[in-house]
């Protein structure tokens, strides 16, 4: 009995921490409409900073608390609102959600960079060592303070929301943003204030939690899941219910912990160890709550045209496939064995990224679990009889596709953030409860057999890299076919207007399940074809985040974008392993690139594609482009230029010069001579790269390649920029070319013009 009381106290104090975190989440969500996935990460950063000033610099606790919770966190919250999110006000919910995923990834990277695990001192709670006796149970001060803080915050929020001008404005904005604005409230300012408040609450929760779980990046960051579970209990609206949910969650965790110490508690269920259950409690709690949510109502969605969906053309796709396959044959011929292995990793990443194209790009559904499906694919492949038989692979893909559809089914009743977080919860559940089983990964490793194809040795890096390129090409062509098919159109239609889709006879549940199945099938290839020893860590939840980010950055609607994103992610890992000095930077890059999305919601590949489009339409340029690359290849075969020279020259040629080729045929006289000279010098420097940058380290060479490419490309463009053709899509818009019809009707609506 005494023991049960002790666990109840533990449960209530843990619940208090969750309550603090989730109240911050609810406050920001309701006032700004952005669901902050980085909420836990803010708490994590706050905990690390608190530790830094309190224990490393030796500040007294009150001063440290004021500095962190009163200054740093609000500033961080404001900065997030102003810098990262304001530019996305008109973007879709998917894009905004991804921006906070980018933040989370960036924060994780920063923490791992600034506070490497080896120099972490213990994090001591408030008045550690002194305990108080509560109903006969010894309780640490940290827990008492957590409880007091939760009660104080609950009362404080009540007073703020109902008793102050700011709070009343906040509630007004929640009720009706436009109306509140007309009555003098400033929604933007109120959102900023709520971000500052939310960040402080996250920080408080982070500091209190760190005293319980120490400075561990992942558990602190995943506080967002606990907070989210509690917030869902309050339907992301009601603060009292949110507090209640947090307490229920804290208590269930504590009782489970108590139960696990009892003899009657089963150690295994169906052969699976139950040791991960407690860790998984918030996720299970969340899943159950999500299942109990009512079916999402069909809402009239305000259409937005900021993101484009371009139909892939067969001729471009086939050209891309040919270039990819020939390129991989050529490149793998000159790479060292270890570099080929890096390339294989990049191709695997590209496959994982491309799995999001049908799901997120076409159907508009966000998944935080692409690598979970890859992991299931890898596990199944390692367990499947047939030792790498092609039939086994087909079976694996089919099984994972059906798991994808099955997992999706309960989640399909949800939409937007609810759906995205349900996939995140699924990823965590699989990580904790399945991948961590000794049965699945014996001693933490599983051996995925290489695929057996007669006459091909896929255990060797080079054939494997080429085979993966071909696989990517086949998947890519399949996706082109999908996007051009009735099903693909249906996916996009569902993304644009589920309401109109349903009234035209679309079965939304089936369509969503199809999208999930196709995506899971592609992701399973990324796992099943990654032969060798794999660890559960490869498929952890936080590894999936960069995949989603790079997919969005590359251009989620396009296959080329996915390839680009995957390669970028691969290159990032390569950089980290060959130039260890910059490995900290590479940890932060996916997050930072993700945040750049605000400027370019269509993705980088869209920009690049726009640059290359004239070339593909201009036969002469195309011939010159390809023969230039061919000549380079020949030079490297003849040992005239080194491999680095080839790489540099290819980058300068492909990205710097080729896009300008059609233009070079138009202009004449001096500008042309100048352009050609710049191009020739650039190519010369690049080809004899190794002689120019003699003995430079790899990082220096890469930097030089980037500088060279930027200089040559921009110099040519500067010399002659063709006038942009102006076009009007409709005569109605003459004189108003700066606005699309959508923008006009939107502003009409905003100022309540009734036509």
């Amino acid at each position: 009995m005494q023991q049960l009381v002790a666990y109840t106290v533990i449960g209530l104090t843990t619940g208090a921490i969750y309550a603090l975190a989730s109240s911050g989440l609810v406050v920001t969500y309701v006032t700004s409409g952005v669901f902050n996935i980085a909420h836990g990460a803010i708490g994590m950063i706050a905990a690390f900073c608190y530790w830094q000033v309190r224990f490393e610099w030796g500040w007294p606790a009150p001063a440290a608390l004021i500095a962190i919770l009163g200054v740093l966190c609000p500033v961080l919250g404001l900065a997030i609102d102003r810098v990262a999110l304001r530019g996305l006000a008109q973007a879709t919910e998917v894009t905004r959600l991804t921006a906070t995923v980018a933040l989370m990834a960036a924060f994780i990277g920063v923490a791992a960079w600034v506070w490497p695990p080896e120099n972490r001192q213990p994090f001591r709670g408030f008045f550690e060592g002194n305990n108080v006796s509560v109903v006969g149970v010894n309780v640490g001060w940290n827990k008492i303070i957590a409880l007091i803080a939760a009660v104080a915050v609950a009362l404080g929020l009540r007073v703020l929301l109902y008793g102050t001008r700011l709070g009343i404005q906040m509630r007004a904005v929640v009720d009706n943003r436009n109306l509140a604005e007309l009555n003098g409230a400033r929604p933007a300012r109120i959102a900023s204030a709520s971000w500052a408040l939310g960040a402080s609450l996250a920080g408080l929760a982070g500091v209190l939690l760190a005293a319980e779980v120490q400075l561990n990046i992942v558990p602190l960051t995943l506080l967002v899941i606990n907070a989210y579970a509690a917030a869902i209990f309050g339907r992301l609206k009601s603060l009292p219910l949110t507090f209640l949910g947090a307490m229920a969650l804290g208590l269930s965790e504590a009782y489970l912990l108590w139960g696990q110490g009892q003899s009657w508690f089963p150690e295994t269920i169906g052969g699976f160890s139950t040791s991960g259950l407690r860790q998984a409690t918030p996720t299970i709690f969340l899943f159950i709550l999500l299942m109990l949510l009512p079916q999402a109502k069909l809402r009239a969605g305000a259409a937005r045209v900021r993101e484009r969906s371009v139909i892939p053309q067969w001729n471009t796709a086939i050209l891309g496939v040919v270039v990819l396959i020939i390129g991989s044959v050529a490149v793998t011929g000159m790479l060292t064995r270890s570099n080929t292995i890096y390339m294989i990793q990049a191709l695997i990443m590209a496959l994982a990224v491309v799995s999001l194209v049908p799901l997120t790009g076409y159907a508009g559904l966000v998944s935080l679990a692409p690598l979970t499906f890859a992991g299931i694919g890898a596990v199944l492949m390692s367990k499947m009889p047939g030792d790498g038989n092609v039939l086994s692979l087909i079976a694996v893909v089919l099984i994972v596709a059906s798991i994808g559809a099955l997992v999706a089914l309960p989640a399909l009743r949800l939409e937007g953030i609810y759906l995205a977080l349900a996939t995140g919860a699924f990823a965590l559940l699989v990580s904790i409860l399945v991948f961590n089983q000794g049965k699945i990964f014996a001693n933490g490793v599983a051996e995925v057999p290489p695929l057996r194809i007669p006459g091909v040795h896929l255990s060797q890096p080079r054939p494997k890299a080429i085979f993966l390129s071909i696989t990517f090409a086949v998947v890519g062509l399949g996706l082109v076919a999908l996007r051009r098919s009735a099903l693909g159109r249906r996916f996009v239609a569902m993304k644009d207007s589920p309401l109109a889709g349903a009234t035209l006879g679309m079965n939304l549940v089936r369509t969503k399940a199809m999208a999930f199945a196709i995506s899971a099938a592609i992701a399973s290839l990324a796992g099943a074809l990654d032969a060798g020893k794999v660890a559960p860590d490869n498929y952890a939840f936080d590894r999936s985040l960069p995949i989603l980010l790079l997919a969005i950055v590359g251009g989620i609607g396009s296959i080329g974008g996915a390839f680009f994103g995957g390669m970028l992610l691969g290159l990032n890992t390569v950089l980290a392993s060959i130039v260890p000095s910059i490995s900290n930077i590479t940890r932060v890059t996916p997050g930072l690139i993700g945040l750049s999305m605000g400027r370019n919601p269509n993705g980088t590949s869209h920009q690049i594609a726009t640059a290359f489009r004239p070339v593909t339409r201009h036969p002469l340029s195309l011939v010159i482009a390809l023969s230039g690359a061919g000549t380079l290849w020949l030079l490297v075969v003849l040992d005239v230029v080194s491999h680095w020279g080839f790489f540099a020259a290819l980058v300068v040629w492909g990205l710097g010069i080729v896009p300008n080729l059609p233009m070079l045929t138009i202009i004449s006289g001096r500008p042309r001579t100048l352009c050609l000279s710049i191009a020739a010098v650039g190519m010369g420097v690049a080809s004899f790269f190794d002689d120019v940058f003699d003995a430079a380290p790899t990082g220096g060479r890469l930097l030089a390649v980037i500088i060279l490419f930027v200089v040559v490309g921009n110099a040519i463009r500067r010399v002659h920029t063709p006038a942009e053709p102006t076009s009007t899509s409709s005569p109605d818009l003459v004189g108003l070319t700066a606005f699309t019809a959508q923008e006009l009707s939107k502003s009409d609506r905003a100022i309540k013009v009734v036509l």
Binding site: A300, V305, E307, A493, T503, L504, A741, Q742, S745, L755
Partner: protein, 237 residues
């Protein structure tokens, strides 16, 4: 003449507000029926109830004498109900042609491409087939919504303010089209604020005010109904 659509004492409550309170009306087959009334009268809510987006708090919707209350939204299209939206719900990132094509494919027609092309020709949008739908000006976007609804070959077409945002020539084109649809045997239920359009094309008009039908009759009867003039038309004159 039989009623294709019968609405029987339909009520919809939003929290404490009765959006519709006991609405009764019939829509005869192969006619154009107008549904008019001031903003907030419940016209769009009634459309949402008919196509299943919203469940009525009470009351019955009958199509061909069969109750359809429990039939899911996506299955009502197969029964022959098509609609447009007052606040445009186009597939904004698909091309104009693909918007109509998706509808034809969902309806399972033979040769959906031909059907889509035919509807675009009918609405005068064929020369804009390749434009991204989100870039259309409002007038054309409204016509595209009609084309898309027609592509699933509905028997009952619900048009929610199709003429708002249309210029005079386009409105004229729309009224010709409406008569054409009627001659093809398609039943149209039309919500519109353009009274000259309503009065010139409708066979029958129902007037909705504050969630109730306050008058039903021919255009002539409606124009001379004092209650209607008081509640709605008076404001126009």
């Amino acid at each position: 003449m039989t009623a294709l659509l019968e609405v029987r004492s339909v009520a919809v409550r939003f929290g404490g507000v009765m959006a519709l309170s006991g609405v009764d009306l019939d829509v005869q087959e192969a006619t154009i029926t107008g549904l008019i009334g001031p903003n907030g009268a419940g016209k769009t809510t009634l459309f949402n109830v008919i196509c299943g987006i919203r469940q009525p708090t009470s009351g019955v919707i009958m199509l061909d004498d069969i109750e359809i209350n429990r039939i899911a939204t996506q299955k009502r299209s197969a029964l022959g109900i098509g609609r447009t939206f007052q606040r445009l719900e186009l597939f904004t990132t698909l091309s104009v042609f693909d918007n109509v094509l998706v509808a034809a494919e969902l309806a399972g027609v033979n040769d959906p491409r031909a059907v889509a092309h035919e509807q675009l020709l009918l609405l005068g949008l064929a020369d804009r087939a390749d434009i991204i739908a989100g870039e259309l000006p409002t007038g054309s976007a409204r016509l595209l919504e009609v084309a898309r609804a027609l592509a699933s070959h509905p028997r009952l077409l619900l048009l929610d303010e199709p003429a708002s945002g249309l210029d005079d020539a386009e409105t004229q084109q729309l009224s010709v089209l409406l008569r054409q649809l009627k001659s093809l045997g398609i039943t149209v239920l039309l919500v519109e604020h353009d009274m000259s359009l309503i009065m010139s094309v409708c066979d029958q008009i129902h007037v909705l005010n504050l969630g109730s039908v306050i008058a039903s009759g021919t255009p002539d009867q409606i124009q001379h109904n004092p209650e209607v003039i008081d509640a709605y038309l008076g404001a126009v004159r």
